[in-house]
């Protein structure tokens, strides 16, 4: 080991030139070059977005703690669900002015305005989730309630009896708890620990109101 004995005397002096080449490999690292979506056929674009939306639907129906909804948020799914729900709640009757049935715009406003208020609430309480991620989660978790609406419409094609009411009540209650549970599974991690209940309660109220609108829907004669 004696050849290392003199190493302690080595110091870098100014007369040793340090030179060389620093080269950074500049390849085609620009991701836009690889995934330029301008040239692809429109069908591919639409199918890709639809597949993303469908994948998120699956995540909502089987809520596990995954970050798929949060990482790649989009608002197409919520828009689709909201329009479907509002159209079905409207009943399609021309004389809906005299009923107190919610108009299309009212349902739309409730869903979007409600989502915005809940998002603001969770951010004000110190949540780390971003605004649009939260809107995305809340919108996608309306899916069980939309399914319940479809089921209720089908049930109402039969007679308007108390049996149908009980069936509808069970379906709406189950789907409303499913929605609340699913959105809590996605949102709960981003909240401080001692405020989880404060964030979950408005979500519960929101889905309760939507479930109420679905349950009290009665078709026009």
């Amino acid at each position: 080991m004696s050849q290392f004995a003199g190493l302690s005397d080595i110091s870098i002096s100014e007369d040793i030139p340090v030179e060389g080449d620093i080269s950074v490999p500049v390849g085609s690292q620009n991701p836009d070059d690889d995934f330029s979506t301008l040239d692809e056929p429109v069908k591919d674009t639409i199918l890709r977005d639809l597949r993303a939306v469908g994948q998120k639907f699956v995540h909502v129906l089987y809520p596990k703690k995954s970050s798929a909804l949060l990482k790649d948020w989009d608002l197409w799914g919520p828009l689709l669900l909201c329009v479907t729900l509002a159209l079905m709640l409207q009943g399609g009757s021309a004389d809906s002015g005299e009923d107190g049935r919610p108009q299309f715009a009212e349902v739309f406003v409730i869903i979007w305005f409600g989502s915005v208020i809940i998002t603001l609430n969770s951010k004000l309480l110190g949540g780390t989730i971003s605004f649009f991620q939260s809107l995305c989660v809340l919108g996608y978790c309306i899916l069980p309630l939309t399914v319940a609406m479809i089921v209720c419409r089908i049930v109402l094609l039969g007679a308007l009896s108390s049996v149908s009411f009980v069936v509808r009540l069970i379906v709406v209650t189950a789907s409303f708890s499913w929605s609340t549970f699913a959105s809590t599974a996605f949102l709960a991690d981003s909240q401080p620990a001692n405020r989880k209940a404060l964030v979950v309660y408005p979500v519960f109220l929101f889905y309760f109101v939507i479930g109420w609108m679905i349950l009290t829907f009665s078709p026009s004669p």
Binding site: L124, K196, A197, L198, F208, M213
Partner: protein, 308 residues
């Protein structure tokens, strides 16, 4: 060592300004909700920026030494200002709701529960819950009343939600605004009054409405006696919370003004309760009329929808 004695004393703060003047440089411990102060002691250093309070300088003793809470320095057009208004934990909200439902003589709601940390979470969401509770219960009760008639087709009345929302939110914001303005004006003449900030008054009013939520749910049962009974009980409880809160602020004033203020607070509270009942729970099938002066209209059973 002398500070540990403070832990054992329960201090009532009568006059907030006097307290801060006397104790400008002293080391004081504010006797707080024990759970809250324990949590704050645990959380010093990490959550310390949440200790900003709006109009009272509080000094907390922590393991890191003497740390002083500052006034809210964020201007009101920034998001951080509003975050300080939502600086509550779940158990704090629960305690405040319980404190507004079960008033204890001598426990001023503002001093015991708010402690210069008024929040807007409670008032906003309690009002929202009340609005939807009224709408849902009103619909259910009108459905139950008309259920026996075979020709009746139940139609949900959605306009009730907007009416209820307007009434309740304007009560919860405009009345505190008027009260705060009046108290501030009187405070200039009589300087020894306990003064509440606007947010504290909004907070008290918001939490005092929480007793109405179970009362409104009880109104589903179509029995007039039960409805009036629950109104009276709810009015007594929430009215006494309000009266006990504002009594220290106005008792030094002239007795005539005191009586006028107290009776105004109580009368407005009564009007809200009776108005909601008459408006949303009348058993008329026709458009509900906003008639505060005819509570007897609600006792008429509707016969207009019976088919002839």
């Amino acid at each position: 060592m002398a500070n540990t004695d403070f832990h054992l004393q329960f201090q009532e703060f009568e006059d907030e300004q006097g307290f801060t003047e006397h104790n400008q440089g002293a080391t004081t411990v504010t006797i707080d909700d024990p759970i809250k102060s324990r949590k704050q002691r645990k959380a010093t250093g990490t959550a310390f920026e949440e200790d900003d309070n709006d109009d009272k300088t509080e000094i907390f003793i922590s393991s890191k030494g003497l740390l002083s809470g500052q006034r809210k320095s964020a201007p009101f057009w920034t998001f951080e200002y509003y975050q300080t208004l939502f600086d509550v934990d779940s158990h704090q909200v629960k305690n405040r709701i319980i404190g507004s439902i079960l008033p204890w003589p001598g426990k001023n709601f503002v001093e015991v529960y708010l402690r210069s940390n008024p929040d807007l979470y409670g008032p906003f969401w309690i009002c929202a819950t009340l609005v939807f509770a009224i709408a849902v219960s009103g619909n259910i009760s009108s459905f139950l009343v008309n259920q026996g008639q075979p020709e009746f087709r139940y139609v949900p009345d959605f306009s009730k939600v907007t009416m209820a929302a307007t009434a309740i939110y304007s009560y919860a914001w405009l009345v505190p605004l008027a009260l705060w303005g009046f108290l501030t004006w009187r405070n200039r003449k009589i300087t020894s009054l306990v003064s509440y900030s606007f947010l504290q008054i909004v907070c008290v009013y918001g939490y005092s409405l929480s007793i109405y939520i179970p009362a409104v749910i009880l109104w589903i049962i179509p029995s007039e006696g039960l409805r009036w009974c629950s109104i009276v009980v709810a009015l007594c409880l929430s009215g006494s919370v309000l009266v006990m809160t504002f009594w220290p602020a106005i008792r030094d004033d002239k007795p005539r003004i005191t009586i006028v203020i107290i009776s105004t607070i109580v009368i407005l509270h009564v009007l809200l309760a009776v108005g909601c009942k008459a408006c949303f729970f009348s058993t008329y099938e026709m458009d509900p009329s906003k008639d505060h002066n005819e509570p007897s209209a609600a006792t008429n059973t509707s016969s207009s929808t019976k088919p002839k």
